[in-house]
C-alpha cells in the first residue's frame, strides 16, 4: 500500500516534470506542431520513471552523502530513460545536439524541482528550530 501511494505521488510530480521538460524542449527546438499521441506518451513516460523512482526511494539512506549518490544515480537513470523513450516516441532525433538538449532540459527540471523542494524543507526546519528554541527558553 505504501509503495502504491508513493508511486502515485511520484507519478504526479514526474508526469508534470516530464510535460514541462517536453514543453521546454519543443520550444527550444522550434517544433510548430506536436503529435496528438504525445498526450498519452507523456503519462506513459511518467509511469515508467515513477516506478524507477519509487524503487530507488524505498531504500533508507542514513546520510546526505549516500542520498546524494542515490540522487545522482537517479538522475542518470531518469535522463537515460527520457532520451531512450524520447527517441522511441520520436520526440528526439538520435543526433548529439538533440540528445544534449534533452539532457539539459531534464537537468533543468530536475535541479529546479529539487531546489524548490529543499528550500521548502529548509524553511520548515527553521520554523521547527525557532519553536524548539522558544520552548527551551520558556522552560528556563
Amino acid at each position: 500500500m505504501k509503495f502504491f501511494t508513493e508511486f502515485l505521488k511520484m507519478f504526479t510530480y514526474i508526469t508534470t516534470g516530464t510535460a514541462v521538460a517536453f514543453a521546454a524542449y519543443t520550444m527550444i527546438v522550434g517544433y510548430e506542431t506536436v503529435a496528438v499521441y504525445t498526450v498519452a506518451e507523456i503519462p506513459l513516460v511518467g509511469v515508467i520513471m515513477s516506478l524507477i523512482t519509487t524503487v530507488i526511494t524505498q531504500r533508507e539512506y542514513s546520510t546526505n552523502k549516500k542520498i546524494g549518490f542515490a540522487l545522482v544515480c537517479h538522475y542518470i537513470i531518469v535522463s537515460a530513460s527520457m532520451v531512450g523513450l524520447g527517441i522511441l516516441f520520436e520526440w528526439v532525433r538520435p543526433v548529439p545536439e538533440e540528445i544534449i538538449l534533452m539532457l539539459g532540459c531534464v537537468l533543468f527540471v530536475y535541479a529546479f524541482s529539487f531546489t524548490m523542494f529543499f528550500v521548502s524543507m529548509k524553511r520548515e526546519a527553521n520554523k521547527i528550530n525557532a519553536a524548539l528554541k522558544k520552548r527551551a527558553d520558556s522552560k528556563i
Binding site: 542520498i67 521547527i128 528550530n129 520552548r135
Partner: protein
C-alpha cells in the same frame, strides 16, 4: 511537621495524602519527587537494573523487537513496547518521530532537512536521528506551529 504512615485495607490502593495549609517549597519538592518516582522506568543494562528518570532519556528506539532507552552515553533495555512508552510518557515532552523512535523534545538541539524529504534531529549529545516525514505534522502541532 507530623508524619503519619498508615497501612491500607486489603482492597484499598496505596495513596499519599498531603494535608497542608500552604504549598511551600518543602511540600512542592515532596510532590515533585513522588511524581518523578511514579514516572521512573525500570531499565536493564548488562549488569544492572536501574530506575531511569524520563528527563535523563534522550530517546527510545525499537530494534529487533526490543526497546532501548538511550541516555547521554549509556543505552538500557526497557521491557515495554514503544506504544506503551508513548502512552505512559504522554504530556511529558516525548514524541514519536518515526516508526521505531520516540524522542525527548528537550534533548533536540536542532533539526535540519535531508535530501530525501526526511529531517535529521541533532541531539544535545551530538547524536543524529531521523524524523520521518509522516511524523512531522504531529511534531509541528506539539511545537505550536
Amino acid at each position: 511537621m507530623k508524619i503519619t504512615v498508615e497501612k491500607p485495607k486489603p482492597n484499598q490502593e496505596e495513596e499519599v495524602i498531603i494535608r497542608c495549609r500552604n504549598l511551600n517549597e518543602c511540600i512542592t519538592e515532596i510532590i515533585c519527587s513522588l511524581k518523578e518516582e511514579e514516572c521512573r522506568l525500570t531499565a536493564y543494562s548488562d549488569r544492572d537494573i536501574v530506575k531511569l528518570s524520563p528527563d535523563k532519556i534522550y530517546y527510545f528506539e525499537a530494534v529487533d523487537n526490543k526497546v532501548f532507552a538511550c541516555c547521554e552515553k549509556q543505552v538500557y533495555e526497557v521491557k515495554l513496547k514503544l506504544y506503551e512508552i508513548e502512552e505512559s510518557l504522554f504530556n511529558r515532552d516525548f514524541i514519536r518521530i518515526s516508526k521505531s523512535v520516540i524522542v525527548n523534545l528537550n534533548m533536540i538541539k536542532s533539526v535540519s532537512p535531508m535530501f530525501n524529504g526526511r529531517f535529521e534531529a541533532k541531539l544535545k549529545n551530538e547524536e543524529k536521528i531521523i524524523i520521518s516525514r509522516q511524523y512531522v505534522p504531529a511534531l509541528k502541532k506539539v511545537l505550536g506551529i
